[in-house]
Symmetry: C3
């Protein structure tokens, strides 16, 4: 992504409410990491472990909080949330390419599709009947927009995305390559050892500002809809089962799996490869750490875990062997207690 | 999916062998959940936890078993397997759109491909040389059907599916967007710290009525074929390694991974994100629960698990710390036993 | 993949430095597994468990090491690394189809793209502006090559691959269907309970001879590049986060997840569904076993694990219950020790 503009440090300080330390006339053209920055770039620091990089950086300026200021040898924009300010500056310096209104002749567009004249339909895209595409949307190459899909303004559909029939997508959503929105939920009834397909007659609704990662799949509802509320960010290779509802501003990292009918609150975070077992409710402000699996409803905000960190294989084998013998160890303790005349009253079932 | 037909309750009762409670003339147009149903719709109930929804439903009728009948205030179809009856009614009311015979002019079809005249080739699909496509198949937009692929009757290939060269697919299979059938298996021989690619000369064979979910990958065999038997249902983002064989009517939920040469029996169930380590055999009627990993062959039907449910993070950290100290605890117990003159004979290796 | 050539056993022995036992004039046309082989084929054996198949094989010849020779009833090529020799023979007998120079008329190619005349652009592919495509590359049907992408010689891009803007790919890389190289990293700054997108201005660089599996996603860097060094082999449905660096000749099996900024050494192996938590460094020659998760840096070569094998569900439930009560068990042991006048000095924190 090439930088497309340049701004003075003074403009940036005013626009983002930062305290400026340095020459307001310095021109900033691009963002960079502290370690590789060159003049004309701006970096940021949020973690003291990068302090040495801060001291040595060749960036023209750095966004940081007051605690870091003493170690900054170049111009600085001081703000209590340097990461967010940096993100906004980066968006300004490296904006998404604007939609180039029009339809590539290789795209296949059903008669009667209602496409705003400011939208861009890129090569080899396919747009179905009854579709409505809002202003300034971009439909990437090879993407398929099914029948009766509704896209709000400024939606970005990257290359090779599939949006299935009837899905509704709010303004400013970004869908990354390979994402599939609205595939059939996994619904099958068992009958005499065989499976009978249950048609999935619901749809998927994405709110505003939702982002969906590469090769992620969000299934349509069985009867009602699968709903992703405003501002939810979903990473790559995530599976969202039918009838899930994800609360606003929740973030879901790569490889997460949410089984059907999981209800997730607002501002939750699912770390990489974590998940939920389905048919349960998770309240607002829950953090599920990497690879943890939620198997019952959570009604208390906080952090939840179930990961064992990798250990040297021979240690691990021993740990697992010990784990499977705890019951025997407990029986031995009970026996010692009995012999010592200490009738320990165990909890029920122990 | 809009309802495409309407049936009387009497017709439904006869067709699916249900006991009818209510007016046989009631017209049913669509399926719905009990909670959101309106007149003209039919719902179902299989779990007593939804009893209140049953009592309050606005559906015109409900499919249920005898135990629920007393709480039903509307017409009822009584059957011992309400879910399967409901699935069949839903299929009838919400059928797949029939194939519209013909080839979209934007599709690229190799000379000599043998495509049944009743099949439909949608926009921007690509069909290779030597392909055979059976009656009433639908090839979705942007899908790629490789050379010498063979599709039985009534196969549904949704948008953006890849079927690699030489794959054979049985009648009535459904392939969801982004699925890849017949990619190369992961075969590499080690040689002096580098990897030598092993050509994967086998193929993939899908039986009848197989369903493959969004962005799922089923690899072709290294020498023989990867085989998915009749009626197997595979959800999204599943990985099936080369030379696996999945027995008939097995169901595989989202994010499951089966390493190469896993042999799975009939009527097994793999819950979400479970898996098998490869080069092993699992007998018929095995259920692997969510996230469990099978690491050695199973010859006894039943349910297998290895998941730890998520716990509050501070509890979890304590559990893991205790887990890693079991051996020390056991040594202390042994010492107590020795001091008490109780020479406990431990199992070998303990 | 049909065999495309035939070679004599004598030629093979010379070419791959094997000791030949048998008639050098025997013609070999294809590879096969020992159990299904017929005359004209060559098999291999590396594991004594297949000894009975070796004794009974109908193959014309077998590649094996000296220890297996006595059980071979047909011609043999003896080598200390039979798998690697077999892989090379298989590559020769079953080569990739050569590129057929030219551009299918349905492909959409931006003006000024620099495509070597020996490269092949297959149907419905899309090639962006400023792209450079090297000699003998093949761009598969439906694939999208973004702007300014650079492909070295002999790169194979299979069907429906996405290569995002600016990605650089070394010679002889193979990208399997559905792979996405260079999607945006998952970068969002938190601000008052909402997420601010951080533009991902880095790219992805693949070295020579890298292989990327079906529906795998490799994200572009946030500021610097994501780098995959020479000879790395990546299987299906793998997630590689932004700014990862994977050392040369590392192998990554299906469903692995590497969170952002994971640095992996050379010749490592990640088994199926294993992963790393990000912002950590793993040294050369580390093996991470199936489903293990590395959560802190590793500076010692060797094998690392954290998998619990599946157990019968009722046993497993008991194990987990015991696991959560270890602390209580330890308290009881401490009490016994106290009563016995054995003031055990526990490790800190226990």
């Amino acid at each position: 992504m090439a930088a497309s503009s340049s701004l003075s440090l003074g403009e940036l300080a005013v626009r983002y409410g930062c305290e400026l330390h340095g020459d307001p006339a310095i021109r900033i053209e691009r963002v960079a990491s502290l370690g590789t920055a060159s003049p004309g770039s701006i970096g940021f620091i949020v973690n003291a472990r990068w302090r040495e990089s801060l001291k040595a950086t060749q960036a023209s300026a750095v966004v940081l909080d007051r605690a870091m200021l003493a170690d900054c040898r170049v111009a600085a924009l001081v703000h209590r949330n340097p990461h967010a300010v940096f993100a906004r500056i980066a968006q300004e310096l490296h904006p998404l390419a604007p939609a180039r209104p029009g339809r590539h002749p290789s795209a296949v567009i059903a008669a009667g599709a209602d496409i705003d004249p400011t939208a861009e339909i890129q090569p080899l895209a396919c747009v179905g009947a009854g579709v409505r595409i809002g202003p300034r949307c971009v439909i990437g190459p090879g993407s398929v927009v099914g029948a009766r899909v509704d896209l709000g303004a400024d939606v970005r559909v990257h290359a090779r995305v599939t949006i299935c029939d009837g899905v509704r997508i709010g303004p400013r959503c970004i869908l990354h390559p390979g994402a599939v929105i609205g595939g059939d939920g996994f619904g099958h009834a068992q009958d005499a050892g065989q499976w009978v397909r249950v048609p999935q007659v619901g749809s998927v609704v994405l709110g505003a500002d939702v982002e969906v990662g590469c090769n992620t799949a969000i299934d349509r509802g069985a009867l009602g809809d699968t709903v992703i509320e405003d501002g939810v960010k979903i990473d790559n290779l995530v599976q969202v089962g039918h009838n899930c509802r994800i609360g606003a501003h929740t973030a879901i990292a790569g490889k997460v799996g949410l089984a059907g009918s999981t209800i997730v609150g607002k501002r939750c975070q699912f770390a990489g490869d974590s998940g939920a077992a389905g048919h349960l409710t998770i309240c607002d402000d829950v953090i599920v750490t990497a690879r943890a699996v939620v198997t019952s409803s959570i009604d208390k905000p906080g952090m939840y875990s179930s990961l064992f960190p990798a250990e040297p294989a021979q240690d691990w084998r021993r740990f697992v062997a010990e784990f499977k013998r705890i019951a025997r160890l407990r029986a031995r303790v009970k026996e010692l207690e009995r012999a010592a005349g200490r009738g320990h009253v165990e909890e029920s079932g122990s």
